[in-house]
């Protein structure tokens, strides 16, 4: 934990403005709604423009592997804006989950995939047997000595859009965990998902041919989890800020009892509480990203960032619905789309309660 604060550089702030402008122009809410209505096909033009114009998919990938050579801080900027604009592309699954796994694996074999993902030409998905706890990785997926992937990945984000497949599975002869690349696309069963902008699939692997990119150890798995959680924490912060801003806007114009409802103290105070919670979440998320970018252990920082961001964002979402009255509960109002995205952000890679447990376990282990 650093003693003094940090601020974004002018370049980082400029990058944020570019990302925000990109989503505002290329993925406004009308477009998000349209894609949801169509069953969320990949808008490949926008996806590729995101890579071409901003290098977003490879923002944290070294330049030699086709990336921009930045790190977790800049990835956090992208995720924050993605939460703010509710971008529905498979960024979390491809650019965060799959790409981080490839970066962790390292080596030449991974580099080809990294180049393909960073350029936006391919969309990655990662098959894992748990979204809850890295300690459970490898309990459901295994690779036989003939290089065949077996087992079930019960909840896979972004599978419907993917054309580059990785898996974390247990190497059966050795019993060690490894990162594998599949040679063919598996059969995906789309699942009814709470989050309409980030649907899940179930993937059953019955002897799929794959190659091992690397062995990975438990510490690496935990590190991946930390990185994913920190990315999600940023997204949750962006979503919470968008909801709060929209709520404030509504409170300033909506009239009841002859006065703007934003003048009612109980409503004002609720917004103040949400802002305070979101400000703490933002500070924790940024510090956690900086910790990861510095290559430092991030277990505690990630747990704090994720739990606070999820709780703050859920409060923001509940307030956003409540303070809009019946309107906020309608399908036509966009609030529930954020509510759903926040709920999925809350529960992916460990609930807030799980994060808190990990935090204390970490502090006790390092005391």
């Amino acid at each position: 934990m650093s003693e003094t604060g940090f601020a974004f550089s002018a370049e980082q702030n400029q990058f944020r403005d570019m990302v925000s402008g990109f989503f505002a122009a290329r993925s406004p809410m009308g477009r998000v709604r349209e894609l949801i209505g169509l069953g969320l096909p990949l808008d490949r033009d926008t996806w590729q423009a995101l890579a071409r114009e901003l290098g977003a998919q490879g923002i944290h990938v070294p330049e030699r592997a086709g990336g921009s050579g930045f790190g977790a801080v800049e990835l956090g900027i992208v995720m924050e804006e993605m939460g703010r604009h509710l971008y529905p592309g498979p960024f979390l699954s491809s650019a965060v989950m799959t790409t981080s796994a490839l970066l962790a694996a390292g080596g030449d074999a991974a580099e080809g995939a990294l180049v393909a993902l960073s350029s936006g030409d391919r969309v990655g998905a990662l098959l894992i047997d748990t979204l809850d706890d890295p300690a459970l990785l490898g309990t459901g997926l295994s690779v036989s000595d003939t290089g065949r992937l077996e087992g079930t990945a019960p909840l896979v984000p972004g599978a419907a859009n993917a054309d580059l497949w990785l898996a974390i599975a247990r190497d059966q002869p050795s019993g060690r965990l490894g990162l594998f690349q599949l040679n063919d696309a598996p059969a995906c069963q789309p699942l009814g998902s709470l989050d309409l902008t980030r649907p899940l699939s179930r993937v059953v692997c019955a002897g799929l041919s794959c190659v091992r990119l690397a062995h990975i150890d438990t510490a690496t798995c935990e590190r991946l989890w930390d990185e994913w959680n920190v990315a999600l924490a940023h997204e949750l912060v962006g979503a919470a800020e968008a909801l709060l801003a929209g709520t404030i806007e509504y409170l300033k114009v909506r009239v009841q009892f002859g006065r703007v409802i934003g003048s009612f103290q109980a409503l004002k105070h609720r917004c103040a509480d949400v802002l305070m919670e979101v400000e703490l979440a933002k500070a924790l998320a940024r510090e956690a990203a900086r910790t990861i970018a510095a290559g430092l252990p991030a277990r505690g920082a990630a747990a704090m960032a994720k739990s606070q961001a999820a709780d703050a964002a859920m409060h923001a979402a509940r307030a956003a619905i409540q303070l809009r009255g019946g309107l906020g509960f309608t399908w036509e109002n966009d609030t529930h789309l954020w509510f759903r995205r926040i709920k999925s952000g809350e529960m992916l890679f460990g609930s807030p309660a799980q994060q808190r447990e990990w935090l204390v376990a970490h502090l006790e282990a390092t005391a």
Binding site: L131, L194, F257, G258, G328, F329, T330, W331, L348
Partner: protein
């Protein structure tokens, strides 16, 4: 009356009604025809005045009728949905002409009704409504939009509040009408909620017509009359839920009745989930293998304690009321506020129990998608029927006696700031 009188009276009613049922009741009769008979004989709504299809029965006497109906499996008058609201209001405030025309087909189920009160621009502040009713000779021309209108898509008539005078203070310029929903000027559109159900409608009225004789009470009396409707609504509609069980029986009349109930109840299918389903917590925690997690147990215990506390608070208040005690907190605001807290706590517990399975919805999800439906329905409970904020205002002002909010909506309605709208 003494207890002996009571029981003599009960025997007399049972004898008369029993004999009549022996003669008239049959599970093979068509529903509508049976109800015509029922209404004509005064057994459809025995608590109503004799002049209007009833028998002037006391509450206790009416209960004897319900009990016998239940024992014999008899289908009663149509009482689903907003019908009862319309009926009670018309009985209390309607002209003879209104009662004459609407009460009978309402009891027989011939006519279906809806309620046209809330507007997009006036939710918590119902009296701020801006739907116009402009007089044009012996009729009114209605323009405006209503919202949250359950069953409006199959209603024949609606009870409507609209503004007839814009220069009076807000509560005084409102009038109360019966509107024919089957006319060109009335358009009903379904309104989908965030949980995917479409239980409500929006109703757009463009130069819709209401005849003078369909005004309830005098011009400007609408707000006062609406209070009758609202207090009846708050008391829970007076609907005989025990009668729903009849829908599962076999026989021609039961099949027709089941269809009537199915249509009327469709909008309410998700209501149990809105309340958070504390009843499912322990079983889901067991099923998901989370029952031994101490953190999960804390959240479940919180939810169960709140739910049981609210249940007991209601039943004890009811017992105090029955015993004539003055120690009764008026209104249902405390229970309504508690319901919100309980539902939210259930949401927290369900999320924790389901873990990453709470990411799923529909048939793929845990517990047939109920958990997802709970998470997406609970936000409604603190809004519908009066927001938590309104309940807290009521509790602090009417129960605790704290000062009212300063008012900014006195004087002519025309001059009060309001939301931009069609009207």
């Amino acid at each position: 009356m003494t207890e002996a009188d009571d029981s003599a009276r009960e025997r007399a009613i049972r004898a008369e009604l029993g004999a009549w049922l022996d003669a008239e009741w049959s599970v093979d009769r068509p529903l509508r025809e049976w109800r015509e008979t029922l209404v004509a004989a005064g057994w459809a709504a025995p608590a109503w005045p004799k002049a209007w299809h009833g028998r002037d029965f006391s509450h206790a006497e009416t209960m004897v009728v319900s009990r016998l109906f239940r024992e014999r499996g008899v289908v009663g008058a149509a009482s689903t949905g907003p019908r009862s609201l319309a009926a009670e209001t018309l009985l209390a405030h309607g002209s003879d002409s209104l009662k004459q025309r609407y009460l009978r087909p309402l009891l027989t189920g011939e006519h279906s009704w809806c309620q046209l009160f809330s507007e997009p621009g006036s939710g918590s502040d119902l009296a701020g409504l801006t739907t116009r009713a402009e007089r044009d000779g012996s009729r009114y021309v209605i323009n405006g939009q209503k919202v949250w209108n359950t069953s409006a898509h199959h209603a024949d008539f609606g009870i409507l509040v609209a503004r007839t005078d814009w220069d009076l203070p807000k509560h005084q310029g409102i009038s109360y009408f019966v509107i024919d929903m089957r006319q060109p000027g009335v358009e009903v559109r379904p309104l989908r909620q965030m949980n995917g159900h479409a239980s409500f409608n929006e109703v757009f009225m463009t130069d819709a017509i209401v005849h003078e004789e369909d005004r309830v009470g005098a011009e400007g009396e609408g707000w006062r009359i609406a209070q009758t409707t609202l207090s009846f609504e708050r008391s829970g509609f007076g609907r005989d839920r025990a009668a729903d069980a009849l829908a599962t029986r076999t026989g021609r009349i039961y099949a027709e009745y089941a269809e009537e109930v199915r249509i009327a109840m469709e909008p309410y299918r998700w209501y149990p989930q809105r309340a958070g389903r504390p009843d499912l917590l322990l079983s889901l925690a067991r099923a998901n293998g989370r029952i031994n997690d101490p953190v999960v147990r804390q959240e479940i215990a919180r939810a169960l304690t709140l739910a049981e506390g609210a249940r007991l608070a209601t039943s004890q208040a009811e017992a105090r009321r029955r015993s004539g005690s003055s120690d009764v907190i008026p209104g249902g605001s405390i229970g309504k506020l508690a319901a919100s807290v309980i539902a939210r706590q259930c949401s927290v517990a369900h999320t924790l129990i389901a873990g990453s399975h709470s990411l799923l919805a529909g048939d793929d999800a845990n517990a047939q998608g109920l958990v997802a439906e709970i998470l997406l329905s609970v936000p409604a409970i603190s809004i519908a029927g009066g927001t938590d904020e309104i309940q807290r205002n009521i509790i602090s002002e009417r129960v605790l006696g704290l000062p009212k909010e300063p008012r900014f909506d006195t004087g002519s309605f025309r001059d009060i700031p309001r939301n931009p709208g069609r009207a």
